[in-house]
Every structure is written in structure tokens, then in C-alpha cells.
């Protein structure tokens, strides 16, 4: 999506000119597309000046009591749950959250998800996420990733989305709640050359969206392997994966 299209769309969202379907899609993109997010919140913050002339209105006595009663006993939604909700709504298999050994930590995966099934699933997830570069009219900008990777766990359940950039940055968007016990970290790896072996791109303390800057490596290529393992903190002492593989996948070029 071009910058101009993104801004027009952000404008329609902030001004309240979208129908329900468009708005739901925009709210999905707010979760997953950082450029759209920036565009929306920066415009909304700028328009805020117009709100100041609205005649001041003090809340009635009962309002706080009603809000308070409204949230009593209400569970808060995690970012991952929101993401899973979006994927599930798009018909993509997402395993419900399970606090105990969520991705089968005791059973490292034996096989790699390759072939048509993995690729088709990756494509459907990217489409569901409504990422700008999936759309046909996408244009290439400096901020577009070289490759995107859907990392899958057991039973092909999507576990994380990775965008890898030419300047060695890697954005990780967890799609599931990884259980990270005390003293452990999530470590992100890529295999760009069999002869070199897996190279660490960085670690994450918890399953939250993160932008890592890896070592200086050749530009990411399609079919390059990415994986996340569970390692002893602060990072794998051997400089290669020692712990169980939680998710892995092969890179694809984002459709342009």
C-alpha cells in the first residue's frame, strides 16, 4: 500500500467514515501493521485540538460506579489473544491458550514445515493479517521487509510472524502465548548458510512484539530458515540452539 493510500485510510478511520467491515479490518491492521498504526495515531493526535472546543461536561455521579461495576470480574485481553481472535475470525487454525506446555515444549518438533501446505498457510495468514505488502497495489519502500516468515509450531499452528529486513533488523510478532519459565529466554535463529550453521538474531524475555537487530548478514532470502528456541538466560551458551524448537518456518518474499 502506498504511503498516500495508507494516510487516506488512516484518515477515514480517524474521521469515522468507515463502514463496519472496513473498520474491523483497520482495527486488525492497527494490531499488526506498524506503519498504519503510526499513521492513525499521529493523525488522531493532531486532530485532538478540535476536541478542546467541545463544551466541558463533568461526568455524572453514577458514571464511575457504572464503569467500575462493568469491569468487575472482567478478564483483560492480551495482545496475543487479540491477534488470535483476528486469525480465528479469518478461519486460520489457532490453538486455544493452554498454560501448560503450550507448544509441546517437552517434544521438540521433528520435522520442518515445507512444501505447499506451509506456503499456503503462510499466504493465508499474511492475507488475514491484512499487511500492506500483501495487497496487490503494494509499492516497495525502504521499510518493506525482504522476506516474511510464518513460524509454525506443532500441528502447523502459527506461532509467530517474522519480517526480516535488508539492514539486519527482524520484527517478531508472536501469534501465540509462549510459556517462558523463569531463567529462560526465547532466542531467534536463522540458517542462511548450511556451512555456517544457525546464527542467533537475538533474544526476547517474553512473547511480545519485538524488533531485533541481528549481526551483519547477507540480505535475507526466500526459503531461508527461521526458528525460535527456548534457551537458558541470557542466551544459548554454545552460540547455537540447545533448547527445544518452539516454532520454525521458511521465508517467502512478500507479494508486491
Amino acid at each position: 500500500m502506498s504511503r498516500e493510500e495508507r494516510e487516506m485510510r488512516a484518515g477515514d478511520y480517524v474521521l469515522g467514515l468507515m463502514d463496519d467491515a472496513e473498520r474491523q479490518r483497520a482495527e486488525r491492521d492497527l494490531i499488526i501493521d506498524p506503519e498504519f498504526r503510526d499513521s492513525v495515531w499521529s493523525f488522531a493526535n493532531r486532530m485532538e485540538g478540535l476536541d478542546r472546543s467541545a463544551p466541558a461536561t463533568a461526568p455524572g455521579d453514577g458514571l464511575w460506579q457504572r464503569v467500575s461495576a462493568g469491569i468487575a470480574g472482567m478478564e483483560q485481553m492480551t495482545r496475543t489473544e487479540a491477534m488470535q481472535g483476528e486469525l480465528a475470525a479469518a478461519g486460520i487454525p489457532v490453538r486455544p491458550s493452554d498454560r501448560h506446555g503450550h507448544l509441546g515444549l517437552r517434544r521438540p518438533m521433528a520435522r520442518l514445515f515445507t512444501g505447499a501446505r506451509g506456503t499456503a498457510l503462510a499466504a493465508s495468514i499474511l492475507a488475514a493479517c491484512g499487511l500492506g505488502y500483501v495487497v496487490g497495489q503494494a509499492s516497495v519502500t525502504a521499510r518493506d521487509p525482504e522476506v516474511v516468515v510464518v513460524l509454525l509450531g506443532e500441528n502447523d499452528v502459527p506461532g509467530a510472524l517474522v519480517e526480516a529486513y535488508a539492514d539486519d533488523r527482524v520484527r517478531i510478532v508472536p501469534l501465540t502465548d509462549f510459556d517462558v519459565p523463569d531463567g529462560k529466554v526465547l532466542e531467534v535463529w536463522t540458517l542462511y548458510d548450511e556451512a555456517v550453521g544457525p546464527v542467533s538474531l537475538g533474544t526476547m524475555a517474553s512473547a511480545r512484539e519485538a524488533m531485533l537487530t541481528g549481526p551483519d548478514l547477507p540480505a535475507p532470502q526466500p526459503q531461508q530458515l527461521y526458528e525460535i528456541t527456548l534457551e537458558d538466560a541470557p542466551r544459548s551458551s554454545a552460540g547455537r540452539p540447545l533448547g527445544p524448537i518452539l516454532v520454525k518456518g521458511l521465508a517467502v518474499s512478500p507479494p508486491r
Binding site: 498516500e4 494516510e7 487516506m8 488512516a10 484518515g11 477515514d12 478511520y13 480517524v14 474521521l15 469515522g16 467514515l17 473498520r23 492497527l30 494490531i31 498504526r37 503510526d38 499513521s39 492513525v40 495515531w41 499521529s42 493523525f43 488522531a44 493526535n45 493532531r46 486532530m47 485532538e48 485540538g49 478540535l50 476536541d51 478542546r52 472546543s53 467541545a54 463544551p55 466541558a56 461536561t57 463533568a58 461526568p59 455524572g60 458514571l63 464511575w64 457504572r66 464503569v67 462493568g70 469491569i71 472482567m74 478478564e75 483483560q76 485481553m77 492480551t78 495482545r79 487479540a82 511480545r208 512484539e209
Partner: protein, 181 residues
């Protein structure tokens, strides 16, 4: 971005962690402002309170989804309130807004949009940048944002086709953002 925006970001991160005191603090800080915004759209006090009540419940439930961006917390709350208020007035089964079809009634509401623009201090970038837009683009954007007009209502007020209004707004937003950046 002012201190209050930063306050909201910090409080929202605590709300995301389940902190009810931080939630009460956000309510104290923002409820009056949000009520005023809702009221300008739904134009009935009890409905505006209902909008703000629903919005705060959503803020509690989804704080973790939106807590991570600098400057986003306050804009997010405003957006929730505006969208809830718009849903209310556009839900015909819920409200008797037939008066809105009346051009005089539309005119009254459109005047509120002009007032909001006039009230902006001359020193503010937003005033200057809105002022640089062609008048029909500026008025379309103001009517949508300030009083929550739909494309159709703006078209009726300005006597222009809906498609033209859509184009005015989209081009206007791009020019506005360019001027503001």
C-alpha cells in the same frame, strides 16, 4: 505531544497490567473530555454517558492491545468514544434521528463544526494547515470529525455528490498530514 499524553501512556501500561488504581486515574483525567466529545456527536447527555461508560469498559478489556505505542493511549480512547458515538447515531433502530434528515437540523450541527475550527488558536499548526485547504475540503473534514457526519450528510449539507465528498476528504487528509508533518 503534551504532558497529559505522556501521563496517559504511562497509566495505560499500568492498566494493561490489571492496575485498577491507574484505571481510576485515567477515568479522572479523561472522562470529562471524552464526555464532551461524545456529547457533540450524540447530542444527548444520557447517551453520551452511555458511550463513555462502554468506552471505559473497552479500555479496561483491551488496554494490553494498545498500550505499547508512544502517544497512542489518549488518541485510542478518543477513537473508541467517537466510534461508539457514531454507531449510536447511525443505528436507526436505537434512536429517533429522523430530524437529521432535515437540512435545517444538519445546518445546526454543521455550525458546530465551524465553531470548533474558529475556536482553534491562530498559533496552532492545525488551524494554519486546515486554513490552507480548499474550503469544501476543510468543511468536509471538520463535519466528519467534529460532529460525526457521514459522507451522505456532508454531501447533503454542501449540495455535492457523495463521491465528490469522499474525494475531497481523502485528498484533504493527505494535504493536511503533509502540512502538519
Amino acid at each position: 505531544m503534551d504532558a497529559r499524553t505522556d501521563d496517559c501512556d504511562g497509566l495505560m501500561r499500568r492498566v494493561a497490567g490489571g492496575d485498577r488504581k491507574a484505571f481510576a486515574a485515567i477515568f479522572d483525567l479523561e472522562a470529562g473530555r471524552l464526555l464532551a466529545i461524545a456529547n457533540r456527536i450524540v447530542r444527548r447527555r444520557e447517551l453520551a454517558e452511555e458511550v463513555v461508560q462502554d468506552a471505559f469498559v473497552t479500555v479496561w478489556r483491551k488496554a494490553a492491545v494498545y498500550d505499547h505505542e508512544r502517544g497512542a493511549a489518549r488518541a485510542w480512547m478518543t477513537t473508541i468514544v467517537r466510534h461508539r458515538a457514531l454507531n449510536l447515531i447511525r443505528d436507526g433502530s436505537r434512536l429517533d434521528f429522523h430530524a437529521a434528515d432535515d437540512l435545517t437540523a444538519l445546518g445546526d450541527r454543521a455550525a458546530d463544526a465551524d465553531t470548533a475550527y474558529d475556536a482553534l488558536p491562530e498559533s496552532e499548526d492545525l488551524k494554519r494547515c486546515l486554513g490552507q485547504l480548499e474550503p469544501e475540503r476543510r468543511r468536509s473534514i471538520l463535519m466528519a470529525y467534529v460532529v460525526g457526519f457521514s459522507h451522505g450528510e456532508i454531501a447533503a449539507t454542501l449540495g455535492a455528490p457523495v463521491g465528490t465528498v469522499k474525494a475531497w476528504i481523502r485528498r484533504g487528509v493527505v494535504s493536511l498530514k503533509e502540512c502538519l508533518s
